[in-house]
Symmetry: C2
Subunit: 397 residues, 2 copies
């Protein structure tokens, strides 16, 4: 009866890397896969057509932003996000927790990655057992997001994969807060799942959405014993289709790799594993070895808007605004088959940035999207051929 | 030996409206046609692929902007504008005169249309018989643009259709200035043509461009006797492939229609007639009756960037930012087959503007491009069926 399935196709013997197939009613995702962020219902500077033409498998949107603008009812009236934003492939929505607790601390990425100089979000008014009270950045009104409310909104939005409501515990809090926050997030996860199950035949007022599957979220910050407790909770106390790894992942890449490598392998292969908000090229190469199946990050489209085109190698990117490209007739990467590299020179892209032409953002975004999908394809192929280490050395050499 | 031709296919007996075929080495243009402005080598917020998918026949770029950034040599190194900006169809470049004299007065459109509160461009330092000395807005350096220099740059840029160098006489000057400016523009046109002919086998240093054809420009402001003299000059004293109507067209639409209707019919049918910088829907309906074959204007893409989607009827546009569209599930126009109307609702487009998402500009721009091409198609069909007046009434009813 379900149109969902998850299957590990190949499991490396050298490490926890694996390839898999995640099937949704809107299509299959070959994993490891990258999920592109259509945060507010739009990929930044890219139409979904361009993302599809450049091999994207899945995109995500954010409950928090969409509940404030345009509101999930309007999305539901369209028949859900797929129709609203013209994407016929698999989609995921986060639960909103992530943003409520992250916006105002600096960036979401700063938060997960534990950057310093962070303050508690000043639009967050109160966290209680019931949920989180915050102030809308759109119209200043008070909003309560609870596990039940988050699930209802995500039902309206109608993505294939949806998340339990959680608190994204900041890095700067102590272990005691992290623990009590984790326990509350577990109670919220149970409430999310109960509400999700009670609504399994949910018919949104306006006829949105189809079938959906829920992801739990592993909390516990940088503390192994808390992560262990949360892993046990997610595997044995609730029953969700997928599991995401959330919360603070420490303040350095090494700490992040340690947390993920402690967590992901213990989650086994019954669930697709998503790592929330991480997606630098080097992180992906490292963390597929821990068994991460899907990644998401705003960086490919954000870098593009700042003129950075992603490339292989240690450098990792070209800054199109550099004068060295002003008369360079070659494409960003002569081996790249993206819609931009096939047609446009570095000199032209450089010109577009100098002249302030918006299509410069579009063209580099298209390249970065293709690049991430190509990276994941190479990773999948090398896992299947059990030569991931060699492929990584090739990539950075 | 030439890949260029111009043929009037149908000439109305009721007025001067006509359909024609303008053939270039990069393809045929069915006229009357609209030319989209890729001013600085890029359509604003639209890739050339999207413009092509939405039926665009021809685009133009501006010598003035491109000589300053990135410089015509770099374009020539690419093999010309077609390759630089990825457009394989017909192209036109203006001579640069238009911008030198217009920038700094407000907008180019203000100038042609004679808006008040205009000042002489403060980057224009001197006009002499030799040419125009101005200050680069990119790096502050002094630049001289002469007829010969303009032709050389346009050879490097390599558009199919290029223009003689002229002074775009402002509206606020008196008849005596308009007359002496016109006479100088005529001498400049002769020098442009001589330089063009001496370079007919021009091989740019870097191997740009192919064959090109030159347009003369009719000057004379709002003065019938001056327009008459300039018509005679363009028809009998120089020999160019096409003729453009330039200079000030008065301060009201009525005055503009009067000038164009005085000028265009006298130009006969041996040359394709281009009207510089005009392209509001209502102007096009009026001025095809005078025998204008091609129009150009920044308005379709500029309006899109301000959230205005073009529609038929008296109103002429929908302001996507209006709250009335916040939950409107219909497309901009339910009968429109553009790439936007087929996929996206008004509510989504409204949301994109509210959320500050750049793809809102892309999607409305695509619609406006399709809209202008559809308008021209309807006009061509109705001229061929000799029912232009009926079609115009239908359009605005």
């Amino acid at each position: 009866m379900t149109n969902f399935s998850w299957k590990v196709n190949f499991q490396s013997k050298k490490n926890n890397a694996r390839t898999g197939t995640l099937t949704t009613p809107h299509g299959k995702i070959n994993t490891p896969a990258f999920i592109f962020c259509a945060t507010k219902g739009a990929l930044k500077s890219s139409t979904t057509n361009v993302a599809k033409d450049n091999n994207s498998q899945i995109i995500l949107s954010n409950t928090y932003h969409l509940m404030l603008q345009p509101g999930s009812d309007i999305v539901a009236q369209h028949g859900g996000l797929h129709k609203f934003l013209n994407w016929n492939g698999p989609m995921l929505t986060d639960s909103g927790g992530f943003q409520i607790f992250s916006l105002g601390h600096g960036s979401v990425a700063d938060e997960i990655k534990g950057s310093s100089n962070i303050k508690r979000n000043n639009t967050l008014l109160n966290i209680s057992e019931e949920g989180s009270l915050f102030k809308s950045y759109v119209d200043g009104s008070f909003k309560l997001l609870s596990p039940e409310k988050s699930i209802e909104i995500q039902r309206n939005l109608g993505a294939d994969l949806i998340l339990v409501f959680d608190e994204c515990t900041p890095f700067h809090v102590d272990k005691s807060y992290t623990e009590s926050s984790m326990k509350r997030s577990h109670r919220w996860a149970t409430r999310s799942l109960n509400h999700f199950n009670s609504n399994i035949k949910y018919k949104p007022t306006f006829g949105s959405a189809g079938q959906q599957k829920l992801y739990g979220i592993v909390q516990g910050g940088i503390y192994d014993d808390l992560r262990e407790e949360s892993i046990d909770f997610n595997l044995n106390k609730i029953d969700t289709f997928g599991i995401a790894i959330g919360g603070s992942l420490g303040s350095t890449k090494e700490e992040m790799y340690k947390v993920v490598n402690f967590t992901a392998p213990s989650l086994g292969n019954k669930h697709p594993i998503h790592l929330l908000g991480i997606g630098d090229t080097i992180d992906i190469w490292n963390l597929v070895k821990s068994g991460i199946d899907t990644f998401d990050c705003v960086s490919p489209t954000r870098l593009a808007r700042h003129g950075s085109a992603l490339i292989k190698g240690k450098l990792g990117k070209k800054n199109i605004k550099n004068n060295e490209f002003s008369n360079d007739l070659s494409p960003i990467d002569k081996n790249c088959c993206c819609s931009t590299c096939k047609k446009y020179s570095l000199a032209y892209l450089h010109h577009l940035f100098k002249a302030g032409e918006l299509i410069g953002l579009q063209l580099i975004t298209a390249h970065n999207i293709y690049f991430m999908n190509e990276l994941m394809q190479i990773i999948r192929d090398s896992i299947n051929n059990d030569c991931l280490d060699k492929a990584e050395i090739d990539w950075f050499s």
